[in-house]
């Protein structure tokens, strides 16, 4: 009986010890998110057939949960490109592209949103471009 009590104490102690899991409790700070798109500049112009390269790095002081990139026509609001990725890192490389197939002059809006968590903490970077046939 003594042996069973000892075993029960060992199991209970092990579970209690292991249940206290340390965790990073850094509060969400969207202003600490850095979005560095090296291949795009605000106000850039593109022509039909050009490739719009979206390359760069998103970094944060702790773990990011994901990001989305959207390119849309400012005049119609139509989505031309959309991409999202679920990640688990403090540094996320971006490498996507879109070929301009528009046959009319339009103003394009590029929005990159980095998400810190599922509670709506996020950071956004926007660019405006011109597309000309």
């Amino acid at each position: 009986m003594k042996l069973f009590k000892q075993l029960a104490v060992i199991i209970a102690g092990t579970v209690a010890f292991a249940s206290c899991q340390k965790h990073d409790d850094t509060p969400a700070q969207p202003d600490k998110v850095t979005i560095d798109i090296t291949t795009l500049k605000d106000g850039q112009s593109f022509k039909t057939g050009d490739t719009l390269k979206m390359q760069g790095l998103i970094s944060y002081i702790t773990q990011l949960h994901g990001y989305e990139m959207m390119l849309k026509s400012k005049s119609t609001g139509k989505e031309l490109f959309y991409y999202y990725e679920h990640t688990h890192s403090d540094k996320v490389n971006i490498n996507q592209s879109w070929v301009d197939t528009l046959r009319y002059t339009d103003t394009l809006q590029f929005i990159l949103t980095a998400e810190i968590d599922h509670d709506g903490n996020q950071s956004t970077k926007q660019f405006t471009f011109t597309s000309q046939p």
Partner: protein, 295 residues
Amino acid sequence: MLLACASARACDVCGASGSSQGLGILPQFYKHFIGIQYQYRSFSSEHPGLFENLPKERSTEYYNTLQLWGKANIGSHVQLFGFLPYQYNNRVTDTGTGTYNGIGDASLLAMATIIRTADSSNRGIRHILLAGGGIKAPTGKRTTGAGNGEMMNIQTGSGSWDFILSANYTLRGRNAGFNTDASYTFTTTNAANYKYGDRLSVSLNGFYWWRINSFVLQPQMGIRADYALHDYDNYSRKWLNYNTGGYLTYITAGAQVYYKRLGLQCSYAIPVFQHYASGYVEATQKVETGLLYFF
């Protein structure tokens, strides 16, 4: 116009990582055995949309494990168990199927006999308590992207060295008995600094047996509980992943049949209480079957 679409290559709530290795009811009438075991488990998973505008991601995970295992008695007090699994895991989503297959993580357990009713005893009730520990080696195959949260729970191996504590107790009367089995797995980080949560498994089974000529039939029924701590996406940074870990409790029913040196085992389990991956993962069923050869 080109509309490039979404990509979600990481999923932290898909399926449940490796179940702990239980020994169950072990016949002690031969010193050694070698066996092959097949286990099937399935889970349905749901991941909240990354952004508000995105739908929930749903998937079903199927785990198939074919395992070679065996026992060898070393002297009269130590029993050595070895396990070598082969995994064939599938993840089915609305957009496709991902298959992860290959050798899993091999493990070795050394169990000491702590209590055993002497063979010469005339008492009607006999019992045996085994306790010991072991190690699980990172022999399993992993995809190259594993380590950044990519499908961590469906890989064929954890990539880590883990340590196991185990105890197994059986009490037998004339034709009936019960067995309880407990194991705790202490996990370590893998090369990507990912750490699967420690796991505790406990089972309690009642059994009965009949001898009919050279056959022994042993039906059994019981309950099994698996409890897993949360995983760490990055252990050194203490990035705890709350969408992992939890508990699964199964009701199990099965039977063992023995004929001379051969044994056949099968069992079916359905979950009765569960809260896994913050409720995003649901276990559906588990089936096990195996053949043993005693010598």
